[in-house]
Structure formats: structure tokens, C-alpha cells
Amino acid sequence: SAVISQKPSRDICQRGTSLTIQCQVDSQVTMMFWYRQQPGQSLTLIATANQGSEATYESGFVIDKFPISRPNLTFSTLTVSNMSPEDSSIYLCSVGQGAGANVLTFGAGSRLTVL
């Protein structure tokens, strides 16, 4: 299965700033997904980022707050803009693999703390 590297692994940020998380995959993949995992909770899908098209955002998430880039088949970024303490969370990049690309492989996540 694909190996996914995320940067940064963790960061402490000030309120009002923005942070970009990078996701690098060791193979070409069509479907990439960004999830948020708040403390003690499960994973919530932020958006689907397929190469060659605009990212598709889930209800409750907007492009101005979470802009996503997908310049090629091995790389994507998620920016968390104008951060507040409520954005403190783990952000996970994942890719779809297998028949139908339905099995998700995840990166280790980026743990953000907003003060």
C-alpha cells in the first residue's frame, strides 16, 4: 500500500494565523481525502481532492477556511486559515486504494494546537 508522509507532524500556532499541511504520497493516486479528528472523537471528512478538479467540500467546511491544492498525483496541501482554538485538532491525509480505490490509507496526521 501507499506510504504517506505528512508535514508538520505537530505545531503550536497563534490565533489568527494560517498553517499549511503537506501530504506526500510515494505513488500516484487519483483520490485523496482530508479528515479532521478532534480530541476523543472520530474522523470527519473535510474534503475530497482529486487531481485535475476543484476540491469537493463536505457540509460545514468551506474553501475560504480550508483551501486545498492538488498540483499532481502524489502531493496535496491543506491550509487551515485564520485559526482559532476550535481548530485545534489532528488533520489526516488519506488516499483511496484497491479495487474502486475504496480502501483508505492514512498518513500519521498533523496535530495542531491553536493558542
Partner: protein, 113 residues
């Protein structure tokens, strides 16, 4: 609305004490049901995919089963290294084509030696 509910939230077992984790779901257009394992500080790791009622999958001490409304993850004679959070997820067709995966809140399993 597509929804996944897992129970119990936490489960404490003695080594060798078998048990089951439950995942109930409501979804339109089910593509598949998935079980993942998540260790602290790591992303979820894929365990099983189930596609139709009656299907079963096994891997070492784990066995996953599926009905039309729920799935069970049976753990036989667990060991301390089985301690982790087990996540259930359903995959459904998205509103704009493609698909999306919806996760339950997970069951935190603690196995004591």
C-alpha cells in the same frame, strides 16, 4: 442522513477474554463497510472490508461480520497488543458523484495481561 454508531465506547478485557464490538449504520447506497485499527499517534490502519450481508472476514484473532444494519468485530482470546481504537466506517455514494467514507466514533479496547 448517513450515520455510524459504535458501541461500547470503551472495553476493558483480560488477556484471553473474548468479546465483540458493535457497529450499527444507516446509509443510502452502501458501497462497503470497513474496519480500521488506530494506535495512539498514528493514522487508522485498514483491517477488513465487507460488502454484503452474511459476509465474514478473519485475520488472526479478529473476525468481522455484516448484516443489513450492523457489523460485529469479534476478538478471540485477545492479547495486550490488540489494545487500540477500532473504527468502523461505511462508504456511501457522494452527492456530487464519487464516494465518501463516514467513520464511527470508535471503540477503545484495553487488554490487560
Amino acid at each position: 442522513e448517513d450515520q455510524v454508531t459504535q458501541s461500547p465506547e470503551a472495553l476493558r478485557l483480560q488477556e484471553g477474554e473474548s468479546s465483540s464490538l458493535n457497529c450499527s449504520y444507516t446509509v443510502s447506497g452502501l458501497r462497503g463497510l470497513f474496519w480500521y485499527r488506530q494506535d495512539p499517534g498514528k493514522g487508522p490502519e485498514f483491517l477488513f472490508t465487507l460488502y454484503s450481508a452474511g459476509e465474514e472476514k478473519e485475520k488472526e484473532r479478529l473476525k468481522a461480520t455484516l448484516t443489513k444494519k450492523e457489523s460485529f468485530l469479534h476478538i478471540t482470546a485477545p492479547k495486550p497488543e490488540d489494545s487500540a481504537t477500532y473504527l468502523c466506517a461505511v462508504q456511501a455514494y457522494g452527492n456530487t458523484g464519487g464516494f465518501k467514507t463516514i467513520f464511527g466514533a470508535g471503540t477503545r479496547l484495553f487488554v490487560k495481561a
